[in-house]
Amino acid sequence: MRVDKIIEEAPFIKTFHLKFIDEEQGNKFTFKTGQFAEYSAFGEGESTFCIASSPTTTDHIECTFRYAGKVTTALAMKAEGDIIGFRGPYGNCFPIHEWKGKNLLFVAGGIALPPMRSVIQNCLGFRDDYKKITILYGAKTADDLVYKDELRNWEERTDIDLITTVDPGRETPAWKGKVGFVPKILQDIEPSAENTVAIVCGPPIMIKYSFAVLDKLGFDDKNVYTTLENRMKCGFGKCGRCNVGKIFVCKDGPVFTYKQLKELPMEY
């Protein structure tokens, strides 16, 4: 893939717009929302990120990542026009067609908005299929929020209810959103469980507390979705690294319902 565009989302977080070098391959390529891929910085290795763009975007794909280790740092040093490797799509997907006619509640924290953003964009591509769409997104500080342009766009739309929040004590004078950890704000907004599907992505601790809130609000654990972010290498269930109980996160996930998670050992 060639790096077509680079966006500096937040400190240490970049988005790449990627285009297939072989146009024909690009035209044939399809994926489903929620799937991930292995991106190569040749000479350094591969890294696992979700595909952050929606399948409805057909002329390029996007990935958003935080650079922390050897491979992500090497990727972050790429310039527009450079070549990187791409292997995918892998994994299962969000069953958005099963959600038709329902309300959608998206809850995300920090760098976990990318997998969610793919599914949000996909659903917005068929907006009339869904009822109320609520997005709750929080990060440590306003600076750490990703997709700032998109957030502005969602804020302006009348058919989405967007709530953003930053950690307590980290708000700036200019901050107009909420202040508080995501699970707390979730509790405050008291979303109705009636005919609603919830999708929660974030660090393990945020997921744990958010699930507890949704439980109390009466959400059926079959209607609560999340993604697991275990360390993955091969992407298709052979190297053993992401084995949790009888499943492989890469092959049988990364999308799981809360009900499915309850049947797995807590090793993620």
Partner: protein
């Protein structure tokens, strides 16, 4: 050896075992220690490490010539460290390890109760590191005759012969890191080979990767290895990796006059600089 002296030895061994078990029980009952690390019967007439927290289980403890594993490797293990006071059955290798770990600020004197075993198998309690140091001065941990013979043979080889010897030995290495895991001085939370920024050591099992690993390990143990030989014993494909670190120890001793594991305040041989060091490039 006559039948009678064999019996005498057995009686002495049994007596020592009872003394050891009673001492362990006493320490646990008085809460002088929360856990005792010792040896117990394993499979096929071998022994393995046991971890006793219940005074009633001290009857599992034994000590005889099969007890070679350097138990000090467990002192820094997360599951053991959480205990406030640790008792450990200590032969010479363990004693030297304790002193070396102390000199590297990994062990506090108050945390350890040393249940020493002398050369004739009898119990010796130590009140602290000073007493341990005095004992070590008088009791050596000698490397075996067989090992010394191989070292002499290696010394007399040409560089090429030595290279071929080790290439052949390392061809069996799988990078299982049993040598690292068994060594009590390899306690880094993140080993050099587990870093990839930068990746200095090739992690895979190839000629280059194997040499890089073993050489780096020997260098990191220069002046720190206490010559217990666990690394070589742990290797499942019989590579005598302990000879590399033994050679390092001997070289450090001959060059700098320092022996690891003899002084709780030794400091690090390879990174301590003194004005009266014989090298003058630093002046």
């Amino acid at each position: 050896m006559t039948e009678i002296s064999k019996v005498e030895i057995q009686i002495a061994e049994d007596k020592n075992k009872i003394v050891l078990q009673n001492k362990a029980k006493e320490l646990l009952q008085n809460k002088a220690v929360d856990i005792i690390i010792g040896y117990g019967e394993g499979t096929d007439n071998t022994v393995h490490a046991v971890f006793i927290t219940n005074p009633d289980n001290t009857s599992e403890l034994i000590y005889d010539e099969r007890c070679l594993q350097n138990l000090a490797v467990y002192l820094l293990k997360a599951e053991v460290r959480k205990f406030t006071k640790i008792g450990i059955i200590a032969n010479i290798a363990v004693m030297r390890t304790i002193l070396q770990l102390a000199s590297e600020n990994q062990l506090k004197e108050e945390k350890i109760v040393i249940i020493g075993i002398t050369a004739d198998g009898s119990l010796k309690e130590f009140s602290g590191f000073n007493e341990l140091q005095e004992y070590i001065q008088l009791n050596n941990l000698d490397i075996s005759k067989e090992d010394q013979e191989i070292l002499n043979r290696l010394d007399s080889m040409t560089a090429e012969e030595r290279w071929n010897y080790w290439t052949e030995q390392f061809s069996r290495c799988n990078k299982c890191y049993a040598c690292r895991a068994a060594c009590p001085l390899c306690y880094c939370n993140r080993c050099q080979v587990e870093y990839n920024q930068p990746q200095i050591i090739t992690p895979e099992s190839t000629t280059q990767g194997n040499f890089e690993w073993h050489f780096m390990r020997a260098m990191h143990l220069a002046g720190r290895c206490i010559e217990c030989g666990e690394c070589g014993r742990a290797c499942s494909v019989n590579i005598p990796v302990h000879l590399l670190t033994f050679k390092m120890s001997q070289t450090v001793k001959n060059t700098f006059g320092i022996t690891a594991g003899t002084d709780a305040k030794l400091g690090s041989v390879m990174s301590t600089f003194k004005p009266d060091d014989k090298e003058n490039f630093i002046q």
